[in-house]
């Protein structure tokens, strides 16, 4: 069972226009929380709280995240629960605002007494919630971002990073791009901290793979006019393009490139289906679009195909990257919790940090040295698209040890400790 707080959209949908201005943004906690703070409900229920961006600029991901989380909780209850206890899920909307994310996480701990927190948030939001989990002694698993800031500066003994870092994705993508298309690369990335991190990591790994960055461009996050960048790409005539925008910028760029007749292969650092779908199917007919990814529905394991079939049957669509990430990362934490000798915070932390096993996508390990999850990466290509769906094919599977930074490398630059 999943309990949801009342989101801004719920209010607006229910009451329509005009009179709701004063209510916009309000959120209330439902459920019958027992008021225990500090994690752990203390009865025969295992409580999992999810804080995820579900309205605001990332609202397109909400259906995938919500559906996957509900399915996961139902699946665990069907299997007999965690340590024999019923699993109760609590879903809260961060509204893509760090202060709201922190508030929701604290509410889940104080009011609902969650045993474990999971997040599907942007970097700034995630950093805040990781701190809340750390201060309150509640195990917290991040599912959406592996930005360097979180790895190097905001870690704590209760926080676990399930997504790979930008460097890991860059290693997977750069080698694949050089191998598939050639050595000359044009980089186009958003001009803010994460965009610069993406650019640096890809440039480094492109050069390590034997490639060269022939030129690069920056555009502000939220940019919609890419005509001068497309001109620069045409001028540079690269073998392929490394592209770091994930939202509306990706759609605008792909459309502009198609208009100008550029069919140079594109490697997107991240490609969330609900956004790139907006480019329209003809773009994908004419341009090869790739991404180094941690999950697609095309991963060929029996458990994943079962998950994909059930997800499609329940929602009418294939699970996107957000759905797969939310499901399997929280699944790994629940499997670790299920094998623990109790639900106390330190017991759960010990269980998660040493856990190795199988999730829907296959092999999955949590490294105790840096609390970083480890699993294979995939090079996926957009096969085709229609109005409602992106169709992927997995072109290559890359073992984790080929792309994941070593424990020594990561702990050497960490300014915080997971011990």
């Amino acid at each position: 069972m999943v309990r949801e707080g009342l989101s801004r959209r719920d209010v607006l949908a229910a009451t329509g226009t005009g009179a709701v201005v004063g209510l916009a943004g309000c959120s209330s906690d439902s459920g019958n929380g027992n008021g225990n703070g500090g994690g752990g409900g203390g009865d025969d229920v295992f409580r999992v709280g999810l804080v995820a961006f579900q309205s605001g600029p990332y609202s397109a991901f909400a259906p995938d995240i919500q559906d996957a989380f509900e399915m996961l909780i139902d699946d665990w209850n069907d299997m007999g629960g965690v340590q024999g206890m019923e699993v109760e899920g609590f879903n809260r909307d961060s509204e893509a605002a760090p202060e709201t994310a922190i508030q929701r996480a604290q509410e889940l701990i104080d009011s609902e007494g969650v045993d474990m927190l999971a997040t599907f948030l942007s970097t700034d939001e995630d950093g805040g919630v990781m701190n809340v989990g750390g201060r309150n002694g509640v195990p917290t698993v991040t599912c959406a971002t592996g930005a360097r800031l979180l790895v190097d500066e905001q870690c704590n003994p209760y926080s676990f990073r399930a997504p790979t870092s930008t460097l890991t994705k860059a290693k997977a993508g750069a080698a694949g791009g050089v191998d598939l298309f050639g050595e000359e690369v044009f980089q186009l990335n958003p001009d803010y901290s994460w965009g610069h991190e993406i650019q640096e990591d890809w440039e480094r790994t492109i050069e390590e793979a034997g490639g060269t960055v022939v030129d690069q461009g920056w555009a502000e996050l939220g940019a919609s006019d890419f005509s001068t960048h497309v001109g620069a790409i045409q001028d540079a005539d690269p073998d392929w393009i490394q592209f770091g925008f994930a939202g509306s910028g990706a759609v605008a760029f792909m459309t502009e490139a198609q208009q100008t007749g550029i069919d140079i292969p594109q490697f997107h650092h991240v490609a969330y289906e609900p956004t790139i779908l907006g480019a329209g199917s003809s773009v994908f007919d004419e341009t090869r679009v790739y991404t180094p990814t941690e999950y697609t529905y095309d991963i060929d394991t029996e458990a994943n195909q079962d998950f994909v079939d059930r997800f499609e049957s329940e929602t009418g669509r294939l699970p996107g990257l957000a759905a797969g990430q939310a499901y399997r990362h929280i699944e790994a934490a629940l499997r670790a919790a299920d094998g623990a000798d109790g639900t106390g915070p330190d017991t759960l932390v010990s269980a998660i940090r040493e856990w190795s096993g199988e999730v829907i996508s296959g092999e999955y390990n949590m490294r105790s040295c840096d609390h970083q999850a480890s699993y294979p990466m995939y090079i996926a290509e957009v096969d085709s698209a229609d109005d409602d769906q992106i169709y992927w094919s997995v072109e290559e599977t890359i073992p984790a040890d080929e792309v994941l930074a070593s424990c020594d490398e990561v702990t050497g630059r960490m300014e915080c400790s997971v011990e």
Partner: protein
């Protein structure tokens, strides 16, 4: 635009052609979108924070009708009708009751309306980005003197020029345009002549909204269709209006093209500073010419 690669001279000419092509096409988008905003402010004194969402609403109305009919012209007409209707309803329901209050109330109400419009789009259409293809007739490119230009951007420049000229002619040359302007200047006199001034206000707001909506539907095939599309462009639109002079129609045209071209050349020659250029211009204008480039006389007497 596809650049030929020849001599050093050609490289510099390339940069100028690229800068002008990108700058004028993007500038015309800014002009078209800002025209409705400055119209509403210039004639009514209302700063409409929901203007970006009217732009998005027009794009979505066009998207729905394009999906049903497959005809881009129908989509544009649908956007105009939807924009005008939403604008007129906004004026009657939430703007009119506030004419006698402080401008702060108008800001708060239009800001609230903006949030509601975004949420309504997400509830009705969905939060994800939607595909809105460029019509076949306007896709592809045109080659001129060794340079290749995107057909749709050329279409945007031409369509924007026609629409802005039409609005200008309507306000300055048509009988109803003159009556509207007179009604703003001297309400009692116009009412005594038997004209309904309230209706003129509603029409102006609807017209400004319709211009936002038509800008939205024209831009969506190029820049994409998503609920926050209005929020993403509105800051730049306000910069255009401030630089041009609040309420100045001529100012919007000059400032829109100026900012588009300056930003485009900035992306070519000083990419690290390109995004800051419009805001540097705005700060300079506020400091040295607070009324904006053409903000002295206002739209009525230009």
């Amino acid at each position: 635009m596809v650049l030929p690669h020849n001599t050093l001279l050609q490289i510099s000419v390339d940069g100028i052609v690229q800068g002008l092509y990108s700058g004028i096409s993007f500038g015309m988008i800014l002009v078209l979108t800002a025209a409705g905003l400055t119209l509403i402010f210039g004639l009514m004194g209302v700063v409409n924070f929901a203007h970006g969402e009217l732009y998005a609403a027009g794009a979505y109305a066009g998207f729905v009708l394009f999906g049903v009919t497959g005809n881009f012209a129908v989509a544009v007409v649908a956007a105009v009708i939807a924009g005008f209707a939403i604008g007129a309803i906004m004026e009657v329901s939430i703007i009119r009751p506030l004419y006698d209050r402080e401008p702060l109330y108008q800001l708060a109400v239009t800001f609230g309306a903006a949030i509601i419009l975004i949420e309504l789009i997400e509830v009705i259409i969905g939060p994800q980005s939607q595909p809105f293809p460029i019509p076949d007739l306007l896709s592809g490119s045109i080659a001129v003197a060794g340079y290749t230009f995107g057909t749709y951007r050329i279409f945007l420049i031409v369509a924007g020029g026609i629409l802005v000229t039409a609005l200008w002619l309507f306000l300055t040359k048509s009988k109803y345009g003159l009556i509207i302007r007179a009604a703003i200047f001297d309400t009692e006199m116009v009412e005594s002549m038997g004209y309904d001034v309230n209706r003129a206000y509603t029409f102006i707001f609807g017209l400004g909204a319709a211009y936002a909506a038509i800008a939205g539907v024209l831009v969506a095939p190029l820049f994409g269709l998503f609920p926050e599309m209005g929020a993403e462009i509105i800051i730049l639109i306000f910069v255009v209006v401030v630089v041009g002079g609040l309420g100045s129609f001529k100012g919007v045209i000059v400032a829109g093209l100026l900012i588009g071209i300056a930003q485009s050349f900035g992306q070519i020659y000083v990419p690290w500073a390109a995004e800051a250029i419009p805001f540097v211009l705005m700060v300079a204008v506020i400091l040295y010419r607070p009324q904006g480039l053409f903000g002295v006389e206002g739209v009525f007497t230009e």
